[in-house]
């Protein structure tokens, strides 16, 4: 099977700084993979290389086996900032991708309304973003990402700015969306609990130079529940990751 995403020996330097040492990774279709690591570990650089915002100095990026190195427009992309456009309604924000590439069709509108209704935004279709809470805004941002109809979603700390209560809700909601829409997710986070709760696999990164130092498979059964977060299996994975991030820890 061809990997959904294959990064082959990509490197990126900015002046004297090696932002990303030679990095190779592959993500299978339908997989949920997280990148964790301290700031400055090259997560964003790797992200920008995969999204096509940055062209790596060396190496190749392939999506579905097609070389897309340095080309944008092949992935869904979402940041911590929701970046909703204040003068567009919820539905019109969801169809932004179409508006920026080829013009919004009736089918795009219908799809946007369907997404919004299915995932808890049905009462807000015609609302402007300023009337929505932080959690709701991130829901709209994710719907906008889904509506670009790319199989691969890059989510860069999408819940980083939310309070912990809302964040837990959003994590469960994201898993629901992910399992129903069968997309492939590459997820960046600082939050170790979040990465374990969501992922099939976790890539741990380390700075100077930015690189992937370890890979952990999360074998917790799905669908995931909040109870799992306090069970020994979960704690064991967490200890492993903290070990990798901070050296030996005594919990």
């Amino acid at each position: 099977m061809t990997a959904k995403l294959a990064v082959n020996e990509c490197t990126k330097t900015f002046g004297p700084t090696v932002a990303l040492a030679s990095t190779t990774l592959a993500i299978e279709p339908g997989e949920f993979v997280s990148l964790v690591g301290p700031s400055g570990c090259g997560k964003s650089t790797l992200f920008n290389v995969v999204s096509g915002l940055l062209r790596p100095d060396n190496g190749r990026v392939e999506i579905d086996g097609v070389d897309v190195t340095g080309h944008s427009g092949h992935v869904g992309y979402m940041l911590q900032k929701d970046l909703l456009i204040p003068w567009r309604s919820v539905v019109d924000n969801i169809t932004l991708g179409a508006a920026l590439t080829r013009g919004v069709t009736k089918a795009d509108q219908t799809q946007a309304v369907d997404f919004a209704r299915r995932y808890g935004l049905g009462d807000f279709l015609d609302h402007y973003p300023h009337a929505l809470s932080g959690g709701m805004r991130q829901r709209v941002a994710l719907m906008r990402t889904l509506a670009t109809n790319h199989d691969l979603l890059l989510l860069d700390e999408p819940f980083g700015a939310l309070d912990s209560q809302t964040r837990l809700e959003m994590q469960q909601w994201l898993l629901e969306v992910w399992s129903e829409t069968q997309r492939t997710v590459l997820f960046v986070t600082h939050d170790v609990d979040e990465s374990i709760f969501l992922s099939d696999r976790i890539l741990v990164m380390s700075p100077r130079p930015g690189r992937i130092v370890s890979e952990l498979v999360v074998n917790l059964p799905r669908p995931r529940t909040l109870q799992q977060m306090t069970e020994p299996d979960f704690i064991a994975v967490k200890r492993q990751i903290l070990d990798l991030l901070h050296g030996t820890v005594t919990v």
């Binding site: 999204s51 096509g52 915002l53 944008s72 427009g73 092949h74 992935v75 992309y77 940041l79 900032k81 970046l83 456009i85 204040p86 003068w87 309604s89 019109d92 169809t95 932004l96 991708g97 179409a98 508006a99 920026l100 590439t101 013009g103 919004v104 069709t105 009736k106 509108q109 015609d126 609302h127 402007y128 973003p129 300023h130 009337a131 670009t148």
Partner: protein, 266 residues
């Protein structure tokens, strides 16, 4: 808007204007100033009423001058800003001219403009446009420059084309700053028209009327005319503000009011 906010929006400005008139009236009374030196607000408004049949057609003329000049200036300012935002070179070339245009004392340029354009409505239109285009150009340039970099990145990742990103993101982002520029321009526009009238005036204008009243020591009529001129400026400001509220509903309203054709024509 519910009645409470409407009351606040309308009532408070009215009260503040009334307070100005009250203070003015008190000063005249306390210092016992003669009407030919400075009238009370009552006397000024009285003179305005007495001369209304003469003043009203003149006011219409001033409103015409400001309207044409304002529209011309706003369009020029907007187009100039959009053009400047396209390339650094254009911006570098035009910006000094923009600044210099505003360093020219308007009163000094008025007379040459009259010589150039005659005594008709044109010198007034040009002066008003001269004043209005600047705040519009500067604020639209600001709006174009201050679009969130991350939003542009997102648009790029989405595969957005240059022209569509401009039409859907950059251009709409200028609307709010555009209104700030228009509001500044609105209050100055009347000043421009009056300067034009003053220099080019053949008598049939608000400025001409005021000068005649001044030379015949009809001070209440001078002040009354000033009140009328001010009212025209305020009217302009209110008009722009109303337009702003109607055309930028996302700043005040929760939901979109859908026009029948707005749904599928993106």
């Amino acid at each position: 808007m519910n009645w409470r906010t409407s009351a606040r929006v309308v009532l408070i400005p009215v009260v503040s204007i009334l307070l100005v008139f009250l203070v003015w009236d008190l000063i005249i009374r306390i210092f016992n100033v003669e009407p030919f030196v400075a009238p009370s607000p009552g006397e000024a408004l009285g003179a305005l009423r007495d001369n209304w049949s003469t003043l009203w057609p003149l006011a219409i003329e001033t409103i015409r001058e400001t309207t044409y000049g304002f529209v011309l200036g706003a369009v020029l300012g907007f187009v100039l800003a959009v053009a400047m935002a396209q390339t650094r070179i254009v911006q570098g070339l035009v910006y000094p001219v923009l600044i210099s245009s505003q360093a020219v004392p308007i009163i000094a340029i008025a007379a040459p403009l009259v010589i150039l354009l005659g005594f008709g409505i044109w010198p007034k239109i040009v002066i008003v446009a001269w004043i209005v285009f600047f705040p519009v150009a500067v604020s639209v340039l600001d709006g174009l420059a201050n679009v969130d970099e991350d939003l542009l990145k997102l648009a790029h990742v989405m595969g957005g084309t240059r022209s569509r990103v401009f039409l859907k993101i950059r251009l709409p982002a200028t609307v709010s700053p555009l209104y700030s520029g228009l509001k500044i321009g609105a209050t100055y526009a009347v000043t421009g028209a009056i300067i034009g009238e003053l220099v080019a005036s053949t008598g049939d204008s608000l400025a001409g009327f005021q000068r005649n009243a001044n030379s015949s020591l009809d001070t209440p009529a001078v002040w009354g005319t000033t009140i009328l001129m001010t009212a025209i400026g305020i009217g302009w400001f209110l008009l722009v503000m109303t337009f702003e509220r109607l055309t930028t509903p996302w700043r005040t309203r929760n939901t979109v009011r859908r026009l029948p054709f707005s749904r599928h024509n993106d």
